[in-house]
Amino acid sequence: MSRARADEEEYWHSSKFRAFTFDDEDDELSQLKESKRAVNSLRDIVDDDDDDLERVSWSGEPVGSISWSIKETASSSTSSLEGRDSSLQKGSSSYAAFPKQVSSYSLSSLFKGELCLSLSALSDTGVKNYAPELRRPKADYKDYSSDWSPKDTVRRMQRGKVCSLERFRSLQDKLVLLDEAVAGHDGNVITAVLIFLKRTLKREILFRELEVRQVALCHLIHFLKETGEQKLLLDLLSFFSLSFQLSQYREHLNIQDVEKRREFLKGCIGLPFSAEDTSHIQDHYTLLERQIIIEANDRHLETAGQSEIFRKYPRKASILNMPLVTTLFYSCFYHYTEAEGTFSSPTNLKKTFKIPDKQYVLTALAARAKLRAWDDVDALFTTKNWLGYTKKKAPIGFHRVVEILQRNNAPVQVLQEYVRLVEDVETRLNLATKYKCHDVVIETYKDLKDRIQLTAYKCKVERGSAEEEKINSILNNMVRNAY
């Protein structure tokens, strides 16, 4: 390991291999300059040389701790070694001297090699030897002197080279260029070409051509979103007005002022959404409209300090932009008793937004329980039938009611009333035992005529308490009945 590292160091520091810095292409280019036009194909080789596939160094073991080599490779390493070396020799003869010190190879060495390269290229010596000022003009010259086809241009750009696109003057050329870029699936290049087209083409023409080029269109939309060119983006979207309504709707998130946001949402309702989406966006608008009214009202009430509920429970945050269910909770908390006619009353919200019964009961229960308004809780589940009898009913199941009450620290007296209403015996027993509703446990065992459990439960209640007495009397009764 350490030997390999030394080898590598030596390798990198020996001047012979300095040609591996980023600037090597310039060197080779200058050599090739004279015969450039004659040997056009050679340029490909030059290009290849600075592509990653060739520039990678495989010089031995990786440095550092990362050396999880692929185990499958061990068996075939000898044969592949030769293969690798010969592959290196192709293209340029300067690679022939590549040292054969590869002992085993690992995935990580591939990346490390390149990283070393990048770093050494940027180290002081590298920078000094190859003055960057010299480099630019050469590179520029390279661009102007040659007339790459659209295809070549795209290929060069894919490799991260600078290319001048100004050469493509006619609309035809530009479109070919765009199609080539799209065919290359490289977003970077597609975007670059689009920027060029955006700058050089009339808007109408650009839009018209994009209509038949969906991929490019998506790229441009994304680009405009990223760079925040709202004007052009909206123009583009309204030009197509296809399925882009939602991205228009999305804009509301960027509007901080609630009044403006409300106005904007109002404008969105008219957009051709699907029926389902339209109703959601309509609801969104209505909700925000409501919230603005409620907020103004309540802020006033709160600062006036005359409403008891606001004095006792000051609001933690404004209700603006909160979800519907949160708004419902808020109105159950602060405006429970209001008549249906007011905007802030829970029943009005329920009606306007068609909130399902379940959802409504859950939310109201949580809000009233938090205020410890047990009478309200009771009323929530009481229904009268036509004969005037009252009956307890919960659309969410009484076990859920118990859970919510318990979470709000309801006293045992309140809690056991609802535990008693849980239909399933086993659940009822579980809940009663868990929350120490002794009466319910005792009665349930009594109904089940389960002497053993009842006796066992005696140790769970306090000695000398009313519950113990109750258990004893039941047990005695049971005995008497048994005889």
Partner: protein
């Protein structure tokens, strides 16, 4: 020189180069990229390592503009784009008037990063989103490029199979690159026999389910980032007498997880229910080994014992760590909610009640459980039913929007575009056929000594891995019908090898298949492939590559619309 890091890159780079290595290359200081003035450092060169993102360019601009021009010696700036130079970013810098400040602008093509002996990832977070929501296939181009690099190193892969639209694109690009790039015909003896390209959208189901392997659960619960995991510190408090309760560590405990750790290599891919017994067995072995010191009588024996000590101590601390992690996970897996959630998932995957509104999901919405959890379940139900009935879908949508806010309509729309959430259009549910033909649901699953890949989800066999398994034996021709039901084309390509390089298979020699998951892969799927590699009569070994390591949560998150933070 000093490096200024885009924070996101530090994770992946940590895997291939450590600070010591950078130091050898004269890196003096490292900073994270943030707005404001660059910290003082006595260096000549400042190198920015960044992803080509516009918001990062703004930060760099800020850095450069605030640099004190009067100081001497002046510092030079360089910029290194990972994985590649972006013309858009350079244009941006130019508009800000700082492009000229950079002496070097280069790219460092980091396509595939090694995560383990058999695992490569591009760590391109948004690949799936870009491909399916934005029709931006740049990540596929990188995948193809990465595969070309891999072939330059490990030889041309003679057979390419694929399933899905993106897979087709990648294969096409590879073939074109090879053609346009005559030098790529190399003479390296091929390491891989087969390349299998799989689109994530062929199997949308698997990532949505909760992974039940040890590593999968660590990822589900705590999130593994570039092989590192951060854990709550309580369980890792040093248990020494006298300092009890005084110095509880408050920093999260950071651990690296990979197969270099012997114990982890053994348990990472096991079903979590089988991990406990392994840990207790190990504990016995280690304590027995420590006991041996009492039997050591001669100097030689003592010397031998001492020489083993470092190894034993490492094993002991590794065991202690994993016991703590297992305890943490157990607290969660034994919770009622985890159980309920899993029950619903398993019902959906085995095809029970997928066509009506689910009570548990409704309850979770009512209790305002995290939105991502809800979306995972609803999407799972949708996928297991080939789309939801319009009424059911509308009901879920309404409940979600009313409870979590109407702006999430954007996220729901994204999920619909990606095919994760959709109305049942064809009027037919294909999932049961797919499930039965590919045997995706196994009732008799053995978690302790598995005999089938379904152990990684305690019953559900990941579809993607089944496809890989069936490709190896008996071949895809046997499942043509099902392949047609799954989205995208399936195909086979061959790359000619010179006769000298064609493999003559020895008897009993395994084939090696590279499985490339386009759009992400979960740890449980990796575990399933490793299980297949280890099967005695399997005959195929797998190496895995992907655009990103994902789980259901990180995946859904990547598809969610980034909403502005609430103003309070």
């Amino acid at each position: 020189q000093a490096i200024v890091w885009d924070e996101y890159l530090t994770g992946p780079f940590g895997l291939i180069a450590q600070y010591s290595l950078l130091k050898e290359h004269e890196v003096e200081k490292m900073f994270t990229l943030k707005p404001g003035r660059l910290p003082q450092a006595d260096v000549k060169n400042i190198i920015f390592f960044v992803r080509p993102k516009l918001e990062l360019m703004d930060i760099i601009t800020d850095n450069v503009l605030r640099e004190d021009r009067g100081r001497s010696p002046q510092r030079d700036f360089h910029i290194l784009f990972v994985p590649r130079r972006s013309l858009l970013c350079e244009q941006w810098l130019k508009e800000q008037g700082v492009l000229g400040s950079f002496i070097h602008r280069e790219q460092y093509s980091l396509d595939l990063i090694p995560f383990d002996g058999d695992l490569l990832s591009m760590e391109s977070e948004s690949a799936f989103k870009e491909c399916y929501l934005e029709s931006d296939q740049t990540s596929l181009y990188h995948a193809a490029k990465g595969l070309m690099t891999l072939q330059a190193l490990y030889g041309t892969i003679p057979q390419i199979f694929g399933k899905g639209e993106c897979a087709r694109h990648v294969a096409n690009m590879m073939i074109r690159m090879k053609r346009e790039f005559p030098g790529s015909q190399n003479s390296i003896f091929p390491v891989f026999d087969t390349l299998l390209l799989l689109d994530r959208n062929v199997d949308l189901l698997t990532p949505l389910a909760t992974q039940l392997t040890y590593e999968g659960l660590i990822d589900e619960i705590y999130g593994i980032q570039n092989t590192y995991v951060k854990l709550p510190p309580e369980k890792f408090a040093p248990k020494k007498q006298g300092e009890g309760g005084k110095d509880l560590p408050t920093e999260p405990k950071k651990l690296q997880l990979n197969s270099a750790e012997e114990l982890y290599a053994e348990i990472r891919d096991k079903n979590f229910n089988a991990v406990g017994s392994v840990l207790s067995k190990k504990a016995k072995i280690i304590s027995a080994a420590f006991e041996e010191r009492h039997h050591a009588k001669t100097v030689g024996e003592i010397k031998q014992f001492v020489s083993q000590l470092p190894h034993m101590q490492a094993a002991r601390s590794s065991l202690a760590n994993h016991t703590s992690i297992a305890e943490l996970i157990k607290d969660i897996t034994t919770s009622e909610d985890f159980f309920d959630n899993l029950t619903v998932e398993q019902e959906f995957m085995s095809g029970i009640d997928t066509d009506k509104v689910n009570n548990y999901i409704e309850d979770c919405i009512a209790q305002k459980h995290p939105l991502i959890k809800i979306l995972r379940l609803v999407c799972l139900q949708s996928v297991c039913n080939s789309g939801l009935k319009q009424k059911v879908l509308d009901h879920y949508k309404r409940e979600i929007l009313q409870t979590y806010g109407y702006e999430h309509i954007l996220t729901l729309n994204n999920l619909e575009k990606a095919g994760l959430l959709k109305p049942q259009t064809s009027g037919r549910n294909n999932y049961p056929t797919i499930r039965k033909t590919l045997r995706l649901w196994m009732d008799d699953v053995n978690e302790q000594n598995p005999n089938d890949i379904s152990y990684v989800y305690s019953g559900y066999a990941p579809l993607s891995v089944r496809l890989a398994q069936l490709l190896a034996r008996p071949g895809w021709r046997s499942i043509e019908e099902v392949l047609k039901m799954l989205p995208g084309p399936h195909f086979e390509e061959r790359q000619q090898l010179p006769t000298g390089l064609q493999k003559k298979r020895q008897h009993g020699e395994n084939r090696v298949t590279l499985v490339f998951f386009l759009g992400g892969v979960t740890y449980a799927e990796i575990a399933a492939l490793r299980f297949l590699s280890q099967m005695e009569d399997g005959g195929t070994e797998y190496v895995i590559a992907t655009t990103k390591l994902i789980n259901g949560t990180s995946w859904i998150k990547s598809l969610m619309e980034k909403l502005e933070p609430a103003p309070f």
